[in-house]
């Protein structure tokens, strides 16, 4: 415990030093706050945002708005991506059918779909969820597929010797052993999706004045750099929290692949 406390306090110390560096630059060079505000202004802004309404509400309204869009797109990515990846990993014909179109779409940055997304779904949550879906799904599919294909052949043999047919092998061997890799896919998917959300909010609003992306835009339009930076900090913190919580969940399953 003392070790992790030490690591944490050292981390905080280094972080504080960087913040001080930021503050020193703005102070020594007397930087115009509309160009780069000092950290103190940004933190004041963060505190104000929690209580004072911007656009459709206070900070929590914007966070919830962004999270709702993210959750919609990410949930769809999971619901479609995991079964599709499993199917591609387990049934060769499905893999051969899906892979060409998948590989053709994958290199296209998700945000490039924004105009189409707006065209198809209109300026609403659907367009943003679609972009998030496209960003989050590829790593989920790839890892789910890989997880099934990497199932330990020795365990499959063991199951077969004891009478298991293909479906039981899938349900009782391939699926449980896939979980750690599937989680890896989810983690990358969360990161990709969260980044795409902000891009989607910047490019394709949903007609409302909510979201962390909206706050960044609002800062730009009103020449309030502190607002933009404050929103960026919130985005970073939430992204990190999402990653940490998924990682915590993943640790529970790690032993499943610890081979003997």
């Amino acid at each position: 415990m003392s070790g992790s406390f030490f690591t944490l306090s050292r981390f905080a110390l280094v972080f504080a030093a960087w913040l001080f560096g930021w503050w020193a630059i703005t102070w020594v060079l007397n930087v115009n706050p509309t160009f780069l505000p000092p950290p103190t202004t940004v933190f004041e802004r963060l505190a104000t945002m929690a209580t004072v309404s911007m656009g459709d509400g206070t900070l929590i309204v914007h966070i919830l708005g962004s999270l709702k869009r993210f959750a919609t797109g990410f949930a769809l990515a999971v619901i479609i991506g995991i079964p599709l990846g499993f199917a591609m990993g387990y049934f060769k014909p499905i893999n051969k059918l899906v892979t060409p179109i998948f590989e053709a779409i994958r290199p296209i940055p998700p945000i490039a779909w924004a105009p189409f997304a707006i065209l198809w779904f209109g300026l609403n949550v659907g367009a943003q969820a679609f972009v998030i879906l496209l960003a989050a799904m590829p790593p989920i599919i790839i890892n789910a597929q890989l997880a099934i294909r990497m199932t330990d052949g020795r365990l499959i043999d063991a199951a077969r010797v004891f009478g298991a047919g293909p479906l039981r092998v899938l349900a009782e061997v391939a699926l449980p052993s896939s979980i750690p890799l599937v989680f890896t896919g989810l983690r990358i998917g969360v990161a990709n999706g969260w980044m795409a959300l902000i891009a989607a909010e910047l490019v394709a609003g949903d007609g409302s004045s909510t979201g962390l992306g909206y706050l960044i835009l609002q800062g730009q339009r009103t020449l309030n750099a502190d607002l933009s930076i404050a929103a960026m900090i919130v985005i970073g913190v939430i992204g990190a929290l999402l990653d940490v919580s998924l990682n915590r969940l993943n640790r529970y399953f790690q032993g499943w692949t610890a081979q003997t």
Partner: protein
């Protein structure tokens, strides 16, 4: 009453051949392997690496079909896995996400046995293999020796007619290995399934077997058979501790003879 295939043996290998097609050409793992195993016999198989020992077990278990020849169990051609054949793997191959008890009952559950019957059998074999108290442990929480006990219990719980063991003790340290050899003989003598036991240890082979089969280098064929019971001429030494048996002159002689046969194959290969 079609008995023409019944050789009166438990297992019968007739001119068994296995050729693997690889990109670099075909590899013959087995070529004309023939042997008959009587019921309740403990057979150990030794031979140089790559001589097709594991292939032989794969074919017997029904995991792979031979490319030529036949493998018969009780006079019937082996076409796939069945509950009367159980296997213990070198790598244990336990399901890491299932606790000990669920690992052991896997085959019974697949075969559709009722929970009550399963519980009774599993409890019995947990006791026999010395796993009492570890029912709810996960494999990773157990030592190698304990994990292999689970794998043995999983196979025995099927009450198989044939027990296939593919270098089951190769991954254990020397001391655990010795203990497990003695344990296996004790457990085996309770129901005496027919055993095919692959090993790289000549000592292990001579200690446990009714018959030791020596295979040639690839493509594997039966080189010779050493009938340990006939050689001993009285009670088998496998009921005595290994360290005592090691001192028996006849044991040393047989170990030497088997080793000479295996060595000839390895040196031809080199």
């Amino acid at each position: 009453m079609a008995m023409e295939q019944d050789t009166g043996n438990d297992l019968s290998f007739q001119n068994l051949g296995m050729v693997y097609e690889a990109r670099t050409g075909s590899v013959a793992a087995l070529d004309g392997f023939s042997f008959d195993v009587r019921a309740n016999e403990f057979i150990t198989i030794v031979g140089p690496s790559g001589c097709g020992k594991s292939t032989l077990l794969q074919v017997t278990s029904g995991l792979q079909a031979p490319t030529s020849g036949k493998a018969l169990l009780n006079g019937r051609s082996i076409t796939g896995p069945s509950p009367d054949k159980a296997m213990v793997f070198q790598s244990f191959s336990l399901f890491p996400w299932k606790p000990v008890k669920q690992n052991i009952e896997f085959g019974l559950r697949v075969s559709g046995m009722s929970r009550a019957e399963r519980d009774e059998l599993v409890d019995y074999y947990i006791g026999v293999t010395g796993l009492t108290g570890f029912e709810n442990h996960y494999p990773r929480q157990l030592s190698g020796g304990m994990q292999q006990r689970v794998a043995i219990a999983r196979a025995l719980a099927m009450r198989p007619r044939v027990l296939l063991m593919d270098e089951p003790f190769a991954a254990l340290d020397a001391m655990n290995r010795t203990l497990m050899q003695e344990e296996l003989v004790r457990i085996w003598s309770e129901h005496k399934p027919t055993v095919l036991f692959i090993t790289h240890s000549v000592e292990e082979a001579v200690y446990m077997a009714d018959k030791v089969l020596v295979m040639t280098k690839r493509p594997g064929r039966l080189k010779c058979t050493i009938d340990i019971n006939a050689e001993i001429g009285c009670a088998h030494w496998r009921t005595q501790p290994i360290d005592e048996v090691l001192l028996v002159p006849k044991f040393q002689e047989l170990r030497h003879r088997v080793w000479e046969e295996v060595r000839a194959e390895i040196e031809v290969n080199a």
